[in-house]
Amino acid sequence: MVKTPLCDLLGIEYPIFQGGMAWVADGALAAAVSEGGGLGIIGAGNAPGSFVREQISVVRALTKKPFGVNIMLLSPFADEVAAVCTEEKVAVVTTGAGNPSRFMEQWLGAGIKVIPVVPSVAMTKLVTRAGASAVIAEGGESGGHIGELSTMVLVPQVCDATDLPVLAAGGIADGRGVAASFMLGAAGVQVGTRFLSAHECSIHPTYKEKILKANDIATMTTGKRLGHPVRSLKTSFARAYFKAEYDSSVSDEALEAMGTGALRLAVVEGDLQNGCFLAGEIAGMVRREQPAAEIIREMFTEAEDVLKGAGRWVR
């Protein structure tokens, strides 16, 4: 059995978070992950507070176990969603795309554990001081909005910069990835892409099929020109966007407009021409659809075997 301080801190069985993927991580998926012993997370993305409140009630109807909400700090509704989390007293808030300091006081006052995604050592120090309960060190292997550093490089440096438990994220989809994360100093993992294949994940069937069929070189990064790089599957949309980025006759505004609404088209419509199918590099290792609880059990059973064998080269 794999147990870390993160399990005790949050009252969860397995030290695993399901990433708060915008448009994807709804109440049903979060509840399935929490019921499976991990921490399910509702992805607020760019959605308004009313959507988040609705999803919170969906989770509460399905499980008594703790769950979290991910707040995308660049969202126009960030303030509204932050207030909903405070009112609903969710167990955990994870934050992405920025510095959560401005909300810390209200969340800590409501007894919420705040666990920010950190892309650098300086940000780790800043949120540690601000009262975070743990941090998620997310490398650029992950899907969606990404930072520059890779997981292998970022995780140990974040672990050295804070005494808080660290979750490794980006490029983890099986027990080997979990075991490797522990070796780097992490006390848990956050997994997004593998949960796209969960039975309880209600993305469009085309999206799921693309993930299951993806190979090792199936993803690419776009959006660097606008300063917000994004990893997604190499679809005709992603290739066209990439081309437009290097075309100086395309204005930044036109580029911005091209990306607007593209995630919804992928998740809801399965539109291969205009949709942006966010996925981590590890998509190539996601091969079958399973219940979320089974995914978690499988990953940690394998991690246990790997960790037990970790001393075999030591003479």
């Binding site: 650098s120 940000m123 120090k125 800043l126 300063g227």
Partner: protein, 74 residues
């Protein structure tokens, strides 16, 4: 004092001479992105021995100096 500290940190960040930095220098032209800003502020805190909660949007060195100066005198 605050200006000198910021100029010194920026000069180090950009491998240039601190004398090239003025109050009108923008962070954008120095290639300082949002992650660099966090790093810069943390280093500035160590240097000036104060706590800086960067709540305002600053785009030039002068604006950062004006924001930080009252915090140092406290």
């Amino acid at each position: 004092m605050v200006f000198d500290a910021i100029a010194e940190l920026l000069a180090e960040h950009n491998d240039c001479d601190a004398s090239e930095i003025t109050r009108d220098t923008t962070f954008a032209e120095m290639g300082v992105d949002s992650l660099d800003t966090v790093e810069l502020v943390m280093k500035l805190e160590d240097k000036l021995d104060c706590e800086i909660e960067l709540t305002a949007k600053v785009s030039t060195v002068g604006e950062l100096v004006d924001f930080v100066e009252p915090l140092v005198q406290k």
